[in-house]
């Protein structure tokens, strides 16, 4: 056997490239350890959110009480008219915008532009914090209207249970992400990664997490608010 073939990791098209990646020694993917680990973690986390959403769908199908109409429950009063899903639309816009600033931060990270990376990450974190703030507002509004985990005035009790559980779990992910982004951002600014060989892969790894949280929100939005 020729050892050279094993090590080359040469670019080859399509299926052949896949086979070569997986039959290489040392490593399957040409990425840093942390990035590989983040991808695997996100795969695992996908299963957590899938279980939450499937569980929610099943209780929604099996409950005998009528399900509240999300267009009415999540409506906000604007200019004297109830606008369905107004707040959620803004929240979704904010979160998706934050994914944009994150992508720019990753780009600036690879260009080793520490200042721009820092500010773009702070902007991302600020948008994330805004999202969590609006979520807190939404929770408060619903709680004032009498929605509780164990029941609500609009219909099936599982509405409140699923709502608080799923958006709460997602909100925790966003909050953790805000902290994570800020830690990385300040380390970028104070030169922490310069001492470690000037490697800014961590910005992209944090970005993967952030985009994932964003993607999960799209599914929650579709299955909870639009259904």
């Amino acid at each position: 056997m020729s050892e050279a073939v094993l090590d080359s990791g040469a670019e080859a098209p399509g299926k052949q490239a896949l086979v070569e990646d997986w039959s290489r020694d040392k490593q399957v993917f040409g990425v840093p350890w942390g990035k590989a680990m983040m991808w695997i973690f996100l795969l695992s986390d996908t299963f957590i959110f899938s279980c939450f959403l499937v569980g929610y769908m099943m209780v929604r199908i099996s409950t005998t009480d009528p399900w509240p109409n999300p267009s009415e429950v999540f409506a906000l009063e604007a200019f004297g008219y109830p606008v369905p899903l107004l707040l959620i639309a803004i929240m979704t816009f904010v979160l998706i915008t934050s994914s944009g600033t994150m992508a720019l931060a990753v780009n600036m990270g690879y260009r080793k532009d520490r200042k721009k990376t820092f500010w773009l990450m702070v902007a991302t974190a600020a948008l994330g914090a805004t999202f969590v703030g609006m979520q807190a507002f939404e929770w408060t509004k619903l709680i004032m209207e009498g929605v509780r985990p164990w029941g609500n005035p609009f219909g099936a009790a599982q509405f409140g249970s699923s709502f608080f559980m799923i958006t709460g779990f997602h909100g925790m992910h966003v909050s953790a992400g805000v902290i994570y982004l800020l830690v990385v951002a300040f380390r970028v600014r104070n030169g922490f990664y310069e001492k470690r060989g000037g490697n800014y892969e961590i910005v992209e790894i944090a970005g993967l997490y952030w985009h994932f949280v964003d993607l999960v929100w799209v599914f929650i939005f579709a299955f909870f608010y639009l259904w």
Partner: protein, 587 residues
């Protein structure tokens, strides 16, 4: 873009050897120390679970003789015995223990990719164990819901431990899952990304393949358990109704409406069935290496073995509802799950045939690890065949909830993995400690355990056919049962106590070995895999001294014709020795 493998940057990396006792043995980031910590903790809780089973057997064998066992205790014992054995002992021992020890050594790595996370994994696991043990002592005691924790009864009046017991159980599971995730991410990333030069995936020993695949299963299956634990915690503490239907309890209305208990069963078994293979696949892998090493023969059909492990892992995610044939689900659903369940028999049978064919005409050394491995083949075939019975809906319906089921799963995922655990401990003990144990005592331990477990579980199949229900505290006036069933139960109890006491031999042997055992050879079994080729014995922090090993062949070059020794270690260059029959890793 060409990316320089991090393993190639080895010389850039700093290796701070731990200095003090505390950093060396307690807050250690060395995968070998973490492995031993995991192992000791897991065996410690395992002993708790073992004594619980002894108490259950005392009640079943000699009803009304032991007044300190009342029905509430009995259900608590059942629950904690099952939960501890499956999750806190076997999962933690195979993945946290053997996974941690073997993956970096067998793959030729310095350590896990993220040692600090690995250390956290152990301490969070210890926290989950402490929460679990605390639940024995809270008011109302630990939960008595059965290890499956089925709602509604798990959180309803009348089940022992519905106050704090069930809450602590669920919290402990959630904490365990956090710990497992931190460790599991490390194991998977290490196998995928941090192997040494020449170590392709298809040259990895089957132990690593088994542990790796099981870890992937764990990372995808434990989320379902986490979600069901969170939902049940909310049902218990905040009176949500995810799993709780409108129900009246002791004449009162606890306030639940319209939840779905079947949802819990689906979530639980979506975790629960892969969990069986999380325990079984590492055992499959390890036993393959043990058989090959001690039969001085390459494993038969290495590639088939790898693909069988992957196939079993994949199939294990589409069979979960075979645990639910009696839950009232749609019969067509049952038909689907019976089909997928029986398909699993194909890759599993491939593995069994290959183990037997590995022994065929081998130069078999009946040393202690080999005895346990051969014992495993027996118990596994036995438990696997009863699985074919239970996988069919029509046969499962009458046998479900009888002792036949108890016998089946104890044979296939209790005794079988435990025999491999013992075999593996005897096999790698010299590497871990640098000492040898007493061979004769080890053989006594094997024969008494092996024959003893058969004396326990073989009669249980008969009890099951006779219709003895499982999980009952006492039989009462069950006229359809012959009186001899009780005699059989007494015999089973005596065998169980015998087997439990036999384990003392194991601990005596190991403590003696640590204290006075003779120094072992660095490679006492003449094995080919990398962990036996370390420059230090036992391996030190960093595993490989100055230079990482380079692998030139697969892990099974035993008895290669035309070579003096009957084994060629994986790091012997191709020019210096002929390649074996399997031409391992050739593409």
């Amino acid at each position: 873009m060409s990316y320089v493998a991090i393993a190639d940057r080895d010389h850039e990396q700093e290796h701070h050897d731990p200095q003090t006792f505390i950093t060396k043995y307690i807050w250690s980031q060395d995968h070998k120390v973490i492995a031993v910590q995991y192992g000791i903790t897991a065996i410690f809780v395992g002993l708790i679970a073992l004594s619980l089973s002894a108490m259950m057997r005392l009640q079943l064998g000699f009803p009304d003789e032991f007044t300190f066992i009342n029905p509430e205790n009995y259900y608590q014992f059942i629950t904690m015995h099952g939960m501890i054995m499956v999750i806190y002992l076997l999962t933690a021992l195979f993945l946290g223990g053997f996974g941690n020890y073997l993956i970096p050594l067998m793959c030729g790595s310095r350590d896990m990719v993220f040692p600090y996370l690995n250390m956290l994994s152990y301490w969070v696991y210890l926290l989950s164990v402490i929460i679990l043990v605390v639940s024995f002592f809270v008011p109302g005691g630990s939960t008595g819901a059965g290890w499956t924790l089925y709602p509604p009864q798990a959180i309803m009046q009348g089940t022992p431990g519905i106050d704090l017991g069930i809450i602590l159980m669920l919290v402990s599971l959630a904490v365990f899952i956090v710990a497992f995730t931190m460790g599991g991410l490390n194991y998977v990333t290490t196998v995928l990304q941090a192997r040494c030069k020449g170590m392709t995936l298809m040259r990895m020993p089957l132990s690593v393949w088994g542990i790796f695949t099981a870890t992937v299963l764990g990372l995808l299956a434990f989320p379902a358990l986490l979600v069901s634990a969170i939902m049940m915690l909310l049902d218990k503490t905040l009176l949500t109704s995810f799993f709780m239907p409108a129900i009246s309890s002791m004449g009162a209305d606890p306030g639940y409406t319209g939840g779905s208990p079947i949802l819990f069963q689906h979530l639980f078994w979506f975790f629960g069935h892969p969990e069986v293979y999380i325990v079984a696949l590492p055992a499959f892998g390890i036993v393959s290496d043990l058989l090959s090493t001690h039969a001085r023969k390459n494993i038969f059909g290495y590639r088939m073995m790898v693909w069988a492990i992957i196939a079993i892992g994949g199939l294990s995610f589409v069979v979960w509802a075979h645990h639910m044939y009696v839950s009232g689900m749609n019969p067509y659903f049952g038909f689907f799950f019976a089909t997928t369940t029986l398909i699993i028999a194909v890759p599993t049978a491939v593995k069994v045939y290959n183990w037997v064919l590995t022994l065929w005409e081998g130069n078999i050394h009946l040393r202690v690890p080999m005895l346990f491995s051969i014992g495993f083949i027996f118990t596994f075939i036995h438990g696997g065949l009863t699985g074919l019975f239970l996988g069919n809906v029509t046969i499962d319906l009458p046998l479900s909830d009888t002792y036949f089921v108890v016998a089946h799963f104890h044979m296939v995922m209790g005794v079988s993995p435990i025999l491999v655990v013992f075999g593996a401990i005897y096999h790698w003990w010299p590497k871990i400690t640098g000492k040898m144990y007493n061979e004769t005592l080890g053989k006594w331990h094997f024969w008494m355990t092996f024959l003893g477990t058969y004396a326990i579980y073989l009669p249980m199949h008969y009890l099951g056919f006779a219709g003895v229900p499982r999980r009952y505290f006492a039989m009462g006036n069950t006229e359809f049962l012959p009186e001899s069933a009780q005699d059989l139960n007494a015999v089973i109890t005596m065998s169980a106590l015998f087997v439990a006491l036999t384990q003392i031999l194991f601990f005596v042997n190991m403590i003696w070995s640590l204290w006075k055992g003779p120094k072992s050879d660095p490679n006492p079994w003449d094995a080919t895999t990398l962990e036996w080729q370390t420059p230090d014995h036992p391996p030190k922090h960093g595993n490989w001294g100055h230079d990482l090993p380079v692998v030139h062949r697969w892990a099974y070059d035993y008895s290669v014709p035309g070579y003096d020794d009957d084994f060629i270690p994986q790091n012997v260059p191709a020019g210096k020795a002929p390649a074996g029959r399997g031409h391992g890793g050739e593409h």
